[in-house]
Assembly symmetry: C2
Homo-oligomer: 314 residues x 2
């Protein structure tokens, strides 16, 4: 009943320590250490090296350390066992903090204020639209999208939602599918992307989509916030559309290449706000506790929560 | 039944137009134009020149165009008639937008992110505290303070309130008076000032107060947000306390002198976020409509709302 930690990009040691503390009766090994492949029942992954989870004859489940599982599913040698993702209240709250912060920042022209401050300029025109005059459209109405929507509404924003398949959403207009996308985009002043990265959403945030967003509006043009995955956006199109006035401003937490290369023109663009993929870092303790709970459930013969559908990719 | 607009610092013409449209049967005059002093029943003021409202024998009421009335009460020749301030849902919502935005900005280290972006630096340590780990203390628990408190709580912040006189506040710990101030300060990671400017609050945000705020905490030190009046803060103390690490960061919307002089060292300080007194610009249309409603109430023999107590100054 060994747990195998297959992590790249993060330090695996603190994770190993957490699991050892929570499951004192199991062995937790880190990929790269010697271990008996037959004893591994559970794999815990963050961007594991492709193929690293193959040839584990007794593997019963794979757990992703994040909400997104694109980093797992792109492994062509991924074994066919249940794959569960993290759905954690802390992560949900952190994402809503980020979404509300950046919607308010664009509403209240914070980038502009900071540029004025750098020039010792006391802004002449201090009038700003109110939240009630600016519609936020959320792409992806899962747990994260619904929590952000509720909090944005309390701040006064009208909110609309879009999802791949039709969804009943309490208290907000819901759009879905290719047919609903144009109606959704034409009503949104700020588009917030919380979609999973799948074969369908790869490159989804591109020029064609930006050109269909609401023109004008109280912010002077459409604003994009991507807190999902960099693979969903086409950075060349974002830059060109900002320069052409098709987009007014963007907040990006994720990038096609991470860390964002130092030579990327995004860094310098005055209408771009960059954060280093930290919109929703879940608390490692909360994530470890949730995975341990899932293991206990499984061993008690109960169904795992948050199992990924490999066809849709989330 | 003439309305006298006594405004400085803003263009009075759009205001005159609004009142003329709403009260077609009255005369609206702008200070500086010729008018019959005996016909003035109502004065509408924003930073009027001192003495300008004296010698109006039939004056029945004064209306402030803002929520604060310090700009009116500091006129020693102010006539002894009811003075009403604006309490407007739009203004309340705008202030809460500002307070939530800047609490989240400090929580999520936005100043630091923006500095990193300028240096093309992908932040190494991306861990950040969650709202639940950071207590916001609000100084001034009137209509504005209570609305901001509720919205901050929904975003996950623990919130505490302080007011001059004891107040029962639903769902949050309330402190009051000089006796309660130390307990309040020692618990707050972010202090938000929404107090009126009165003789008691002049210079209230000073070194002595900053030194009593919670040390350490998850933000690495206390944060101050002043969205009330510049006269409440001692800018020299703010700068010194930032440099000494007594304060971690500040957001200031108001200043001892406005516009903030170009030579102020506040502009350049890396831990200072400056906005040009625009935290809560109420919609001129909503303000004019509220004043007209108050005039109609008064003429129907009903009590005015939001009349200022000249002893407390709010």
């Amino acid at each position: 009943m060994t747990l195998l930690l297959a992590i790249s990009g993060w330090d695996p040691d603190p994770w190993a320590e957490r699991f050892r503390q929570l499951l004192t009766d199991r062995k937790t090994v880190i990929l790269g250490e010697p271990f008996d492949r037959r004893e591994v029942h559970y794999a815990i992954t963050w961007k594991h090296p492709h193929g690293a989870l193959a040839n584990l004859p007794n593997l019963a489940a794979i757990f992703s350390l994040g909400a997104g599982v694109d980093h797992v599913l792109n492994d062509e040698r991924l074994p066919d066992v249940p794959l569960a993702r993290v759905v954690d209240t802390d992560l949900t709250n952190r994402m809503s903090e980020y979404v509300v912060l950046h919607c308010l920042a664009h509403l209240r022209q914070l980038l502009h204020m900071i540029q004025d401050q750098r020039g010792h300029i006391w802004g002449e025109n201090r009038g700003q639209p109110a939240a009630k005059d600016v519609t936020v459209g959320i792409l992806g109405m899962g747990v994260l999208g619904q929590d952000a929507a509720r909090k944005l509404q309390i701040m006064g924003f009208p909110v609309i939602g879009w999802s791949r398949t039709p969804k009943e959403l309490e208290g907000l207009p819901a759009f879905s599918g290719t047919d609903g996308l144009d109606s959704f985009l034409s009503r949104a002043d700020i588009v917030v992307c919380l979609l999973p990265l799948t074969s369908e959403t790869q490159g989804f945030l591109n020029r064609s989509l930006f050109e269909r967003m609401r023109k004008g509006g109280r912010l002077g043009g459409p604003v994009l916030i991507n807190a999902a995955r960099g693979g969903i956006q086409v950075e060349e199109d974002i830059l060109a559309c900002l320069d052409e006035g098709v987009l007014k401003a963007v907040t990006l937490d994720v990038f096609q290449t991470e860390p964002l290369p130092a030579h990327s023109p995004l860094w310098e663009h005055k209408d771009v706000l960059i954060t280093p993929h930290n919109a929703a870092m879940s608390s490692p303790d909360a994530v470890a506790a949730q995975i341990v709970e899932q293991i206990r459930k499984m061993e008690a013969g109960l169904d795992l929560n948050h199992v990924v559908d490999r066809d849709t990719g989330y």
